[in-house]
Symmetry: C2
Subunit: 456 residues, 2 copies
């Protein structure tokens, strides 16, 4: 057991001064409460402490393509052209490249305040679609990358079987993603064993790529056979064409189809949900499922704006993800999630409410709870039974100067394009000090080496 003393901390009950945090030897918070007198046996944390942010949706390898798939093709570009660029990039990406890119990404995520990443992992096989000698090869590489960086990992092996709705044959660029249900369940078993004794270091979860890529019978088979307590993720309703194709196939929109045909509940996370009608917003919120929005990627790909206000009003569970990693900053995601609403409505403080007047705090607390649900681990709050994943802000940083409590959060979210983070801790260990990961330079060197090979 180690004791930490924070000058201020955002507890579930609100901002509290002089907080003692007790953390057990496995990295779980045992108690978090104000102390009347200083305890000299405690380690002093050098600033206000807030829960770390869960990154609810990541494809780690796409960090290698971030900012590198922007060129216009003759005639113009869409999401679908970007997907072709992605498939070409994948032709050259093997296990070593995957690991180096993931280590770099996870290091960047930690420095920006993410303490756990939910990896939506569909790159299982070699570039021709041939299984590696160990079918878990790529999963091991992601787990090794998370361990090297020190970030918490929820690893979702992804089921991918078809090229489009109705079981269309996969394209050559998709061969690396494919598994039959038995192969998939084997992967899921393997990932579930990765954490070993250390509860919470690697958490497994189920993922279906999308309704395009997974026939209903395969979803049903996996849901029947898989353990009943794992989180379940799926991409849904990101692009208008996907919605139209889903309607042509089933008569229903993607979120409608899931609400009708799958036992969507608190275990479930639906990624994007950009294109929902009001009845889908309300229906989905009422199931307790989490929506993982990815504002920077959705902006980059031209997906559209999530119905944030209606979903929060319906008490929906919200998380954020950096997805394609065109941004690795949680606060850039949150501020542009909010700004998208402001631009659409002409009003400010849309994510706030009379009861929650600070939009920065409302958004951070919402994605704390939703991120924990998406990750399938008790994180996102400074409370007993939660992982000791936290961020120590630097109140002397110019971004935060003159602010206090909720003011720190609004300033971080709404003006923090230089990061006011002093330290980041995951499972009771400090992994970022003075704003820097201790292995930042070594990780960047390995990443540069790989990128210069990949771009040859």
């Amino acid at each position: 057991m180690t004791r930490y003393l924070a000058p201020a901390a955002l507890l579930p009950a609100g901002w509290t001064d002089d907080v003692l945090l007790e953390v057990d030897d496995h990295g779980w918070i045992r108690s978090a409460a104000a102390v009347a007198t200083e305890r000299h046996a405690a380690v002093r944390l050098p600033g206000p402490v807030v829960p770390g942010v869960v990154n609810g949706h990541s494809h780690a390898f796409q960090r290698g393509l971030a900012g590198g798939a922007e060129l216009r093709s003759p005639g113009g570009d869409t999401f679908w052209g970007w997907r072709e660029a992605l498939y070409r990039f994948l032709d050259r990406l093997g296990p070593d490249e995957m690991e180096a890119v993931a280590v770099q990404l996870y290091t960047e995520l930690l420095e920006q305040g993410y303490t756990r990443v939910v990896e939506f992992h569909y790159l299982h096989h070699d570039p021709r679609g041939v299984r590696y000698a160990d079918p878990m090869e790529m999963s091991h590489r992601l787990a090794a990358a998370a361990a090297a960086a020190g970030i918490g990992l929820t690893l979702l092996p992804v089921l991918y079987q078809a090229g489009d709705f109705g079981g269309a044959r996969p394209a050559p660029g998709q061969l690396r993603f494919l598994n039959d249900c038995d192969g998939y369940l084997g992967l899921l078993d393997g990932v579930s064993a990765l954490g070993g004794e250390a509860r919470g270091s690697v958490q497994a979860g189920i993922a279906f790529h999308s309704l395009r890529a997974v026939p209903p019978s395969a979803m049903d088979e996996v849901m029947r056979a898989a353990p009943p307590d794992l989180p379940v993720h799926i991409h849904a309703a990101e692009q208008p064409r996907e919605v139209r194709d889903c309607q042509a196939w089933s008569g229903l929109r993607p979120v409608e189809w899931l609400l009708h045909h799958q036992p969507v509940d608190r275990r479930w996370s639906l990624v994007h949900c950009t294109h929902m009608r009001p009845h889908e917003v309300g229906g989905l919120a009422s199931t307790g499922a989490t929506v993982v929005v990815c504002p920077s990627t959705e902006g980059n790909l031209g997906d559209g704006l999530f119905a944030l206000e209606a979903f929060l009003d319906a008490e929906g569970s919200l998380a954020i993800g950096s997805d394609s990693h065109v941004s690795t900053s949680p606060v850039e995601e949150l501020r542009w999630l909010e700004y998208g609403q402001r631009l659409a409505t002409g009003r400010r403080a849309v994510a706030a409410s009379d009861r929650h007047p600070s939009p920065g705090r409302r958004l951070l607390e919402a994605v704390g709870a939703g991120g924990a649900a998406a990750a399938g681990v008790e994180v996102g709050a400074l409370a007993p039974g939660h992982q000791a994943d936290w961020v120590v802000l630097d109140p002397s940083h110019p971004v935060l100067a003159g602010r206090r409590n909720d003011g720190w959060l609004d300033a971080w979210v709404f003006s923090g394009n230089q990061s006011p983070i002093r330290e980041v801790w995951t499972r009771g260990r400090r992994v970022v000090a003075e704003g820097r990961h201790p292995h930042r330079d070594a990780h960047a060197r390995a990443f540069r080496r790989v990128m210069s090979q990949l771009m040859k």
Copy 2:
């Protein structure tokens, strides 16, 4: 004369390797061209060189409020509630506070790649509206701040006379802004003399706050009396209410009114222009006037999206500004300017064209030319006769790894939320080295002191 050798540079003709840049002793580029052999007498620049970015619209003091005016008021918030918060903040802001806040801001702007700032300066008098002993007091403070940081300054004293369209009486919060035309022209003379012998260190310009705040007769009087070669700036069409009020007053929308009643041409910069009809977009573009868009502020205030694609198609002149400084990064402005278009249209690479396939380069080159027009100084290009204002990128930074030429620009704009800038130079002097301003810590200390006073 000093000679610099860049391993690569973005010249007006395009990316060029091994470029020799010759800079005279006043900080102006004399030549910029490829050299066949290395000249050992040249100073080597440690990375690819691109023109510095002009920040075409700044209210420096608002940096003190960035991220600090986000709380929801009961019943909800709009632009107009934010303006009330701004006026309250101003009650406590004197010359010393103005200077410390501006020094901090300008230091941050330089580190992020802005090399010149166009200061739209309307805070002339003391909190009760009383003239300072020297009516130029606040202007001197801004010039001192720019000199302390080393950023190029275009200083626009702003004419402000009325509380609303039709000459309504100013509100108490506006007393600090007011001048009659003679007082205003005196300020303009004073600012014009600030640069002294050093052409380009401080450039003066004219600004009318808005059609709300300046009666037509006053605009005409200033335009007749002021020197005929200064840039002219005005806020226009930021908010729907402003457009409606302008129509009620004149029968015309703000941009329509300006096109009808003022000699709008290349000297003019219209700030925001969020709410334009297609005929206004085309009409404005054809005058050669510059539109200064401020995407992060327009997002924060819920203004709306600028008609970027139509304006670029009409060959309009574009600049960016950080305005209220909720972001101090030019690339955050540019990427969300582009993402706004993608979200609205469902297409990617909207700012690109078949002739200009890289949206990062297209946007940076557009705001280079437009920024120079807005600033009234030859900047924004690595070419003879331009100020030696440039940014040296760090090609080994993880944001740029594996990229080259336009790929550096797309990666910087579309994935650079950690800054890949190694050096920044203004007028031939290096003002940022290894990504840091040499006085970063001292400037932050002074800023913190002021902010803790202001927030008491």
